[in-house]
Symmetry: C2
Subunit: 267 residues, 2 copies
C-alpha cells in the first residue's frame, strides 16, 4: 500500500555497539531512505551482535522472508569481531577464499603507506566464493556483492562515510538497473487542534478515496493539550506523474477532512 510492492529489501545491522545503545543506527535510516527512493520496499530490518551464528541467522532469515535485496552494514574490518563475511558464507554454505581482486585493493591501500600485508589485513580480502569486491574509496575494507537465488546481497562497512561512498559508487547503480522502475512521491501536512483519535477514521477514508497512497500520522504535540499532527503522505507508481498526482489528491482530501474537524493546517 503506497510502498513499492514486489521488490523487497531487507537491512541487516551487525554490531554490539548498536544493541547496547552506544551508537544510534543512522546507517539504517540512510539506507532505508535510499532504497525507498529507488522504488524498493524496505520490508524488514534485523540487528544482530558480532556473533557468527547470529549473523548467519540474520541472512538466512531475510532470504527466507523473500528478500530480493539484502544490505548489511558493519563487521567488515580487520579485527577478530568483524565477522559479517564469515557469517554470510556460513549462511550460504559457501567457501571463504582469498579474492585476488580484493587482495589487490587491500594491498594497494597499505603499500602506499609502506605497510605490509598481515593476517589481519589479508582477512579483509577473504570473500565467499562467487562474490565481487566493491572498492572502498575511503577506508580499506572492500564492500562485497554476491547474487544468490535471485537476491542481491551487499555487505558494507559500518563507518557511515565509507558505507555511503560504496553505496553511491557501486550499489546504487546496480539497484537502479535492476530496480522496479517505480517512482516515489511524498508530501507533508501539519495540523493543529485535532487529536489523532478524532481524525483516525478519516485518514483511512482519505487513503481509500485515493488508492495507491499511504498516509501516516505522527503525533507531535500533546494529544490532549494542543494536538499537533504531522502527516506523511507517500505514493509509488510506474510513472512519476502518477505518483505525484496520487499524493496531491490524497493531500487535498486529507486537508478537506481535517478542516471539517476544525483543524488549522500548515502546508
Amino acid at each position: 500500500m503506497g510502498l513499492a510492492e514486489g521488490f523487497d529489501a531487507w537491512l541487516i545491522t551487525v554490531g554490539n555497539e548498536i544493541l547496547i545503545g552506544k551508537t544510534v543506527n543512522s546507517n539504517f535510516a540512510w539506507l532505508g531512505r535510499k532504497l525507498t527512493l529507488l522504488g524498493y520496499r524496505v520490508k524488514g530490518g534485523i540487528i544482530v551482535p558480532d556473533i557468527l551464528e547470529d549473523i548467519s541467522w540474520a541472512f538466512k532469515t531475510a532470504l527466507a522472508r523473500g528478500a530480493r535485496v539484502i544490505i548489511s552494514t558493519g563487521g567488515l574490518g580487520p579485527t577478530f569481531d568483524d565477522k559479517t563475511v564469515e557469517g554470510l558464507a556460513l549462511a550460504l554454505n559457501v567457501e571463504l577464499q582469498i579474492n585476488e581482486r580484493a587482495l589487490k585493493m587491500v594491498e594497494e591501500k597499505y603499500s602506499k603507506r609502506g605497510l605490509p600485508l598481515t593476517e589481519a589485513r589479508i582477512k579483509m580480502a577473504k570473500l565467499p566464493k562467487g562474490a565481487t569486491p566493491l572498492p572502498n574509496p575511503i577506508g580499506t575494507a572492500p564492500g562485497v556483492h554476491i547474487v544468490i537465488m535471485g537476491c542481491d546481497i551487499f555487505l558494507l562497512p559500518g563507518v557511515p562515510r565509507e558505507m555511503e561512498a560504496i553505496f553511491e559508487a557501486y550499489v546504487e547503480p546496480i539497484l537502479r538497473e535492476k530496480g522496479p522502475k517505480v517512482y516515489f512521491a511524498e508530501a507533508r501536512v501539519k495540523s493543529y487542534g485535532v487529536p489523532e483519535s478524532e481524525i483516525a477514521p478519516l485518514i483511512w477514508k482519505a487513503m481509500k478515496d485515493t488508492g495507491n497512497v499511504y498516509i501516516k500520522s505522527h503525533p507531535q504535540g500533546a494529544e490532549l493539550g494542543v494536538p499537533i499532527l504531522e502527516f506523511h503522505i507517500t505514493a509509488s507508481s510506474r510513472s512519476p506523474e502518477e505518483a505525484i498526482k496520487s499524493v496531491e489528491k490524497a493531500r487535498e482530501k486529507l486537508i478537506e477532512y481535517l478542516k471539517t474537524k476544525g483543524a488549522r493546517i500548515e502546508e
Copy 2:
C-alpha cells in the same frame, strides 16, 4: 563475552517511518542502553512495517530465539495502522478484549477534556487476554505488559517521551526486580597513529588476558591518514567492584599494547 549471559532481551520496532528512513531509530539505542545497564544482554532487534503479519512474525521470532524480555515500540495509537497489540495477540494466539483498567485510563484522559469515547479511542483499551495496561503519563495509549512462557513482553508507544516515561515508571522496576543482578562497567580509550589492522591481534590478546571483558574498536579517522581509534571496553559481573576491576585491567593492558605500537593515547 562481556555482556550479561542468560538474560536475553530483544527489541522490536514497528513502523514504516523507520523502514523508509523518515525517522532515525533513537528509541532502539535508548532502550539498548537501558537494558544493558540493567544487566540484560540485548541479543537482537527486528524492525517491521505496520503490517499485522509482520508484527506477529517479529514477536514469534524473538520468542523462538529465546528472548526472556521483549520490548516493542510503536503502533499503539488510535489510527488504523496502529497494529502492534493485534499483532502480538495473533502471535500468541490469544484473544483481544477490552481491558477495563485500560478503558478507564483512556476514558479519564478524554473525559477531562470533555471528549467522548469513540471507536478509535476504545481501540487503545483492547489488550490481549491476560495483559496488564501500563499508564501513560504523557500520552493517551497505555503501554502493555504480558508474561508468556517466562518471557516478559512490553509494548510501548513510539513517541520517545511517552516511551521513556512508561519505561522508567513501570518497565524498569519490573526488569530490575527480575533481572540478572549483573553489574555493567565500561571505559573508553582513544588512540592516535596506529591503524586498526595493526592493533587487531593485540585487542584479542588484551581480552584473553583479562577475561569477562569485551573490547570493541571503532575507527574514526582515516585508517591510512592519521588513524584514530576509539576503544569501548565493557565488562559485566555479579559484583560491581569486579566489573570495574575487569574494565580497568583490560584498559591498562590495551594501553600497554597500543604504546608498543607507538600510539599516542588519550584517556
